[in-house]
């Protein structure tokens, strides 16, 4: 209740504040105006197409990020040395301004969906690798030994004693993965694109259609939040055994 109260209070403050601070500003819109912008925005074929395209690209990039990130982490997790080194390297990669070398992506993959998806993946994969590696690195337990005592072999140890322990942090990292993945795709779309939400944001902003612009941004934000909530549900299920 506190949460919803806060949300409502924030929206109300925004609504009232926008009305006061407004002074004919086209940038300061109230939540009501943004909501009103939803209808004309969704009537634009280009916006609808952009949303669909970006949703697809995001979906593919997200899945690849998780699969690839998990695979890389799984390989690197095998020895303590590769784990530590992998952690350091991937933590470094997070803050590399990939935007600066986006031209390389376009060069190798063209200006279409491929480069956007790969750009999303190179952003989204990082937290997955880091999350899993950190979890494995911090895992101290005698459960692997218990599995061996019960007759499980190497794979069984991984399957029964390591994966379940690491799973909650892996799922947690997926949330960050989703948001970075989306970030990567939007940036790519804004820079070079044959379509998508990032481009549409550029179009609306260039055409000074601020209500539609905000409505579009709002849709993306809400979609991001919905994805986040879904992942939180998965996370809760995966960590049900925790306190």
């Amino acid at each position: 209740m506190l949460r919803w109260g806060t949300i409502l209070a924030a929206l109300a403050t925004w609504q009232v504040g926008a009305a006061f601070a407004r002074e004919g500003s086209i940038f300061l819109l109230s939540p009501g105006e943004i909501a009103a912008g939803l209808v004309p925005m969704l009537q634009d074929v280009s916006a609808r197409e952009a949303l669909t395209l970006t949703a697809w690209e995001f979906g593919i990039a997200f899945v690849i990020s998780i699969v690839l990130g998990t695979a890389i982490a799984a390989v690197l997790a095998v020895t303590p040395l590769s784990r530590r080194s992998g952690l350091v390297l991937f933590q470094l990669f997070v803050s590399v301004p990939q935007v600066a070398i986006y031209a390389l992506f376009v060069l190798f993959l063209g200006a279409g969906a491929e480069s956007k998806i790969v750009f999303g993946v190179t952003h989204g994969m990082l937290p997955v690798v880091i999350g899993i590696l950190a979890a494995v690195d911090g895992y101290r337990s005698n459960l692997p030994q218990a599995v061996r005592a019960m007759g499980g072999r190497r794979w069984a140890v991984v399957r029964y004693a390591v994966i379940p322990a690491v799973l909650p942090s892996a799922v947690t990292s997926m949330r960050l993965c989703a948001s970075l993945c989306l970030l990567g795709i939007l940036i790519a779309e804004l820079l070079v694109s044959s379509g998508g939400v990032g481009r549409q944001i550029g179009t609306y902003s260039g055409a000074l259609q601020i209500d539609k612009l905000y409505a579009l941004v709002a849709v993306v934000c809400i979609a991001a939040i919905v994805i986040n909530i879904l992942l939180a549900i998965v996370e809760r299920r995966a960590g049900r055994w925790k306190a």
Partner: protein, 310 residues
């Protein structure tokens, strides 16, 4: 142009880059050609890719991710000046339709009042807005080392306008934005770019010399379809205005004025103002945007001109 062919399987693939998706010169003709099926009629399967600026697009061409580009003519000249082979194959709009504007509260009423304290708001360095700002500053008698500009992209500029100018004294806006700002009483036009720079070649179609020599047919077909779209919009104002509304999201009430400011300047046969191009070449080193001045033949070929449209 090659014979029109309805056979979809025989279509030649071509990727066309455009920059600044809200500029009428650069964004409208390719999409109209696409949506009216002119490209298909010419036997082309065109994919349109938009970039955030001329430089990004030039890199896209060099890297091979697009084949031809629709952008500012200056981008070809500037690239040549840096030793990147790039040639203009056709021109679109001659003069620059953008407006030089100041915040409504500003005391400046004429470009002659600009001085060393003036900060120009521009889209990106090295692009046409940068060039125009430098040239304007030069014409107002400001030494080139005193020139001040903030390159913050279209979003940043819009924000700066909203913030009442802020650190920026002079803006450049394409007609659709300019009209909106003016009607809202935020900005005031002190001159059009064409007043400062009448002998201009604003927008153009370009490609790399290598691609040009190996794909003459394809470029010919592309230009034919492209200028068929230009002609259509020049002749059918109602159709063009609809495109402005749908493609560029120009508000209905402004569409007439935006049309007036842009479409009539368009060439329907790809003519190029070589004088305009030479101005760029001449001024680039002077304005500090390049070290050497390229010669016309480096960045221009007239072998496709005039473009014949059926």
């Amino acid at each position: 142009a090659p014979t029109a062919s309805g056979d979809a399987t025989a279509l030649t693939k071509l990727k066309a880059g455009i920059c600044v998706p809200n500029d009428a010169d650069l964004a409208l003709p390719p999409y109209v050609a696409q949506e009216s099926g002119f490209f298909t009629d010419e036997g082309l399967d065109v994919e349109i890719v938009s970039f955030q600026g001329g430089a990004d697009m030039v890199k896209g061409i060099v890297g091979g991710s697009v084949d031809v580009g629709v952008c500012g003519a200056i981008d070809a000249v500037a690239a040549s000046a840096k030793g990147i082979p790039m040639k203009i194959v056709a021109g679109i709009g001659g003069t620059n339709p953008s407006a030089l504007m100041v915040p409504d509260s500003s005391t400046i009423s004429d470009i002659s009042e600009l001085d060393a304290a003036t900060t120009f708001g521009i889209g990106r360095f090295g692009g046409v807005t940068d060039f125009v700002a430098r040239l304007t500053s030069d014409r107002a008698g400001v030494p080139s080392d005193k020139f001040k500009a903030a390159a913050i992209g279209p979003d940043g500029l819009t924000a700066a306008v909203e913030a009442g100018g802020g650190d920026i004294d002079v803006f450049q806006w394409v007609p659709n934005s300019a009209i909106t700002f003016e009607s809202q009483g935020k900005l005031r036009t002190i001159a059009t770019v064409a007043d400062v720079f009448p002998e201009d070649q604003y927008s153009a179609v370009l490609a790399q010399p290598e691609y040009i020599s190996s794909h003459k047919e394809v470029i010919g077909s592309f230009l034919a379809a492209f200028f068929q779209a230009v002609t259509l919009m020049k002749e059918d104002r109602g159709f063009a205005e609809k495109a402005f509304v749908e493609r560029l999201n120009v508000p209905q009430e402004n569409v007439g004025a935006v049309y007036e400011a842009t479409v009539p300047r368009w060439s329907d046969a790809g003519e190029v103002s070589t004088a305009g191009l030479e101005t760029y070449a001449e001024f680039l080193p002077m304005l500090g945007l390049a070290k050497t001045s390229p010669s016309l033949s480096d960045f221009y070929t007239d072998e496709f001109l005039p473009v014949k449209t059926d």
